[in-house]
Amino acid sequence: MDIVQILSNTAGSVLSPVTIGYALATIGLAMHFGYAGLLNMGIAGFMAIGAYGYAISILSFGFPWWGGVLVGMVGAVLFALVLGVPTLRLRGDYLAIVTIAAAEVLRLLFLTTAFEEYTGSADGLSGYHDSFRASNPLPDGRYGVGPFTYTEDQWWVRILGLAALALALLLVWALVRSPWGRVLKGIREDEDAVRALGKNVFAYKMQALVIGGVIAAMGGVVYALPASVNPGVYVTSLTFFVYTALLLGGAATVFGPVLGSVIFWVLQTLLGNLLPALVEIGVLPMSTSQSQTLRFILVGVALGLIVIFRPQGILGNKKELTFVK
């Protein structure tokens, strides 16, 4: 068992594009669920829009990489509008059902062979990196220390991912401390009361859905930046992983989503490396592939424990949950 390698991989996951992508998606979900009280179960759909919007516009339409990013964002705005117009007048649990269905519809549209020319069907998309790598100002080579040693392309992905993350954090922080955020939190508590005070509740919920959706789509882009777009990623369990990260960090907090995503992926990487190693030295009586499944069982148990014992998350305000509605 190579402890050093396991720990090095685990540390490296802190800065991985997957973690940054998750963090962005979780920030978007915090806007939906934590602040506006919208039980959006289709966050994987928003991420898929971002990733496919980016890849398709580069591969099929020859857009530069930043054009692909813009297409991903615009796609998320449109998806939010299409989703919101019929559903935001519904009660919370109906919104959950419709969003989970919409995300699945979207995934199956990307998966079907009917649009294989653009979506790559089950193979997904890859090889869209030229424009992005050409924009890299870093000279060739490997940089960094210890587990954080990356090539210039790997660094460029991380730098832009972190920049997007910083922008998203700044935006959400500015929004939720403003009177706009106050209205949104009021809607989360009781939308009829807010309506009676003269606020256009539908418009606020739509704005929240769009903003959170665009941030989540950015997460999808960052997730897809270094490698490929694979339809198997944007499944419903992705939505649940993002919820796990959100509840872990604190649903109605600005930095909770980042902390939650980092902890989620550090644990995932640690277990993903440690469990097979334990199998090899004969500590765990199972096969290596079984140990990979065990990892997700542990994630499920963790989610249950968080909700029961620390419903406000790590960064959440304990007082906010002292009063049971």
Partner: protein
């Protein structure tokens, strides 16, 4: 309570509000709300069927009636929280038919709810500030630039603290609204409604679940609203309170207006006694509930 320090001053009731006989649907001298043919059915049940109703301006009107008479449904219809099958109504001369609830509130018609809707995980002060209209910082684009709304926010805070002081909630300003008692939530909801500087306030059972001492101060607050030029329409089952503060009483039963008039006259109306007040009408309800001895009866 302040009412013990400053004994309540008897305030004259508004009279001469109507034109002609005080029958259901009577014309008012200066109506603020005019309802025509509003009907709302739920399946086979006709919840509200009001031919004509005028609510007098700058007066306190009580809406009474037995449970299931359609009082709250009428409230919901008038404020845009529900849509009638047919009918029209105006507020301050402007049609409110089909106007969504938030727009009705912006026009100055603010309501409270029978089941109090304090926004529990917002602080009391945040609840108050939410009540104010036309906030620059509530617009999406300007919200991210604090210099655009900070000044207005400070002004709102001053006004909110003044109102909270008046309603004896200033010490609670930074607490979550969820930590307030039921009666304090009623006070907060009323204070929050006033942040919007409405012209008319509709209160759905403002006294439900409020203890007698707090009732006294709530009554004073409602009378103050009228002194400040507002119109009040409230639903209430406590006849003592209705008698005490209402200038005009509208009685509903089975969705229809069955009687209207000054409080003292309406309570002698046989239709009202039949439909609502029952056999205890002759005895003051305060006596029935043990809150007043017969000698107190005004």
């Amino acid at each position: 309570m302040s009412s013990s320090a400053n004994p309540p001053v008897a305030r004259a009731k508004a009279t001469g509000l109507h034109v002609g006989d005080a029958v259901p649907g009577v014309k008012k001298v200066d109506p603020i709300i005019v309802v025509d043919g509003v009907k709302r059915t739920f399946g086979g049940l006709t919840a509200v069927d009001v031919d004509h109703l005028e609510v007098p301006r700058n007066a306190i009107t009580a809406l009474i009636g037995p449970n299931g008479a359609g009082k709250t449904t009428l409230f919901n219809l008038l404020t845009g929280f529900d849509k009638p099958d047919s009918g029209s109504w105006t507020f301050d001369g402007r049609s409110l038919s089909g106007v969504p609830a938030f727009r009705a509130a912006r026009m100055g018609l603010v309501r409270t709810f029978q089941l109090t809707k304090a926004l529990g995980l917002l602080t009391v002060l945040e609840n108050m500030k939410l009540g104010a209209k036309d906030q620059t910082g509530e617009k999406f684009l300007s919200s991210i630039f604090p210099f655009l709304w900070r000044k207005q926010e400070e002004e709102l805070e001053v006004r909110a603290m003044e109102l909270l002081t008046k309603f004896k909630l200033d010490a609670k300003a930074d607490d979550f609204a969820a930590s307030l008692s039921g009666g304090q939530r009623k006070l907060l909801e009323m204070a929050r409604a006033l942040m919007g500087q409405p012209t008319m306030v509709m209160l759905d059972e403002p006294m439900a679940g409020v203890n007698p001492a707090l009732t006294q101060s709530l009554l004073e607050h409602i009378l103050d609203l009228k002194d400040e030029g507002m119109t009040v329409l409230f639903v209430e089952h406590d006849m003592h309170m209705v008698r005490h503060i209402a200038d005009w009483v509208v009685v509903m039963a089975e969705g229809r207006i069955v009687a209207e008039g000054a409080p003292a006259d309406v309570m002698k109306n046989p239709a009202v006694i039949d439909a609502y007040l029952g056999a205890h009408q002759e005895i003051d309800l305060g006596v029935v509930t043990g809150r007043h001895t017969p000698e107190d009866k005004a």
